[in-house]
């Protein structure tokens, strides 16, 4: 069972590729880390999976059963934190697919919201305005909303950036729980220690695929050095790519 399949996928901005001829598949239930230097195309890859970025070449297939059960935590969410909304209401958004525009929060849903808040350590914060949270608490709030979505395919873009160690461990425990429940998780990360310790599979991306497979073999010193050497080499006069089919 494959959740995602990339066939010679190229993603580009203004013709300059950020992901170059990516081939491969992500199995259902995988816990995949995507690592690589800045500008390596990691975020773009997630955006393409969500459908916010149209491939410049090749194809990207998302299992149709998962397409509607996808949750995405972007790196810089365009959230208006000055909007007068409580943490409770913000987290309750995660139930949109079940409640839609009109249905109220019933007893069962309220219990699930409370459980989601408790799972990220935000019980007691229900009534706080979303603008009054610290960076770590905000990320906990995003994870609580994500948990409520009951998503089968979860895409996380640098979810632990600027987050302290205890918060990171708390939130990662959630990720592992989702993995344990058989959901597919793809996470873009910079914390190589965390990836080495906890992620079975890793995709090392530096515009081109450097390596993809079991974490221990992918994150070898040789591969990491190669990836670092390929960063953001921007050539304004680059020729047309000849390897395109």
């Amino acid at each position: 069972m494959t959740a995602l399949r990339f066939r010679d996928l190229t993603l580009a901005y203004d013709g300059h590729p950020v992901v170059h001829h990516l081939d491969g598949a992500v199995a259902r239930g995988a816990l995949l880390a995507v690592v690589g230097p800045n500008g390596a195309g990691k975020s773009s890859l997630l955006k393409a999976i969500v459908g916010q970025l149209t491939p410049a070449g090749g194809a990207l297939e998302v299992d149709p059963a998962l397409r509607r059960r996808l949750a995405y935590l972007p790196q810089a969410a365009e959230v208006d934190l000055s909007f007068p909304l409580s943490v409770y209401d913000f987290v309750a958004m995660g139930l949109w697919r079940e409640l839609g525009p009109f249905r109220g929060v019933g007893r069962e849903a309220a219990a699930r919201i409370a459980a989601a808040l408790a799972a990220v350590g935000l019980d007691g914060f229900e009534a706080r305005p979303i603008g009054a949270l610290s960076g770590g608490q905000r990320q906990r709030m995003f994870f609580a909303r994500l948990a409520l979505q009951k998503a089968e395919l979860i895409l996380l873009d640098e979810p632990f950036n600027a987050i302290d160690e205890p918060t990171k461990l708390d939130l990662f425990a959630l990720v592992e729980r989702w993995h344990g429940e058989g959901r597919t998780v793809v996470a873009v990360l910079h914390d190589l220690a965390l990836v080495r310790a906890r992620f079975p599979q890793t995709l090392l991306l530096a515009r081109d695929v450097v390596a993809w497979g079991p974490t221990a073999t992918v994150l070898s010193p040789v591969n990491l050095a190669r990836a670092a050497g390929m960063v953001e080499a921007f050539d304004p006069a680059a020729d047309l790519c000849a390897s395109a089919a």
Partner: protein, 289 residues
Amino acid sequence: MLFDLVIAPFADFGFMRRALVGAVALALSGAPIGVFLLLRRMSLMGDAMAHAILPGAALGYLVAGLSLGAMTLGGLLAGLVVVVLAGLVARWTTLREDASLAAFYLLSLALGVVLMSARGSSVDLMRVLFGSVLALDDATLLLLASVSSLTLLGLALLYRPLALETVDPGFLATVSRAGPIAHIGFLMLLALNLVAGFHALGTLLSVGLMILPAATARLWTRDVTAMIGVAMASGVAASVIGLLISYAQGWPTGPAIVLTAGVFYVLSLGFGRAGGLTRSRAPRRHLRA
């Protein structure tokens, strides 16, 4: 004494009662529209759109004179075209919603005034620019009441997606297609309210009963629902007090109402519990944790 000042004007004069009904209807639907304009950072855009209505209404006037139907229809068409175009431009191009509107607003105002002057008197022009709350006939009242009801109903339907789209548009887009519907629906309701406001308060002041009560409310509460309630209350109060002042002092009515709403706003700036000057600058008590 109090009776003479507050009740008698409405009890004695039919035009005052009509003005009251019209202004209250406008205030009730304008308040929630204003709250969302404010929260979506579209306050100035609402103003620009109010001006965009003028050429349409002026065309109606050219064709049929000071006719409610023709001017409403013209204004509504012009308003909807602008509103939907602006929404689509913002959604599907890299241009932000406000970018094209600034130039557009000046053009519309100038074009509208020229069109009006082509046939009408300066009295008609004043009426279009500043409204005629004291001269609302049955048909206009019915229009204001219908727009008000339709707006409240429409916003009740769009409320959740509209609020979510304002807070986190990216998230709503991944779970639902309701975002664009809420956005465009809101803009259409805005256009409807601007046309209604145009009849009573004129093109220059029609956003007065939207933005001022909403800004007032934001300074008193941090909850959207409460904000809408406070905005409605302050809009209705401004309408009543503005009408009475205009009656007692002989001031032009629309400006008197907007000025009253403005006084509420300035007072809230000073004393509002949620971010007013005295509150945000004074040292405050705090909890232990």
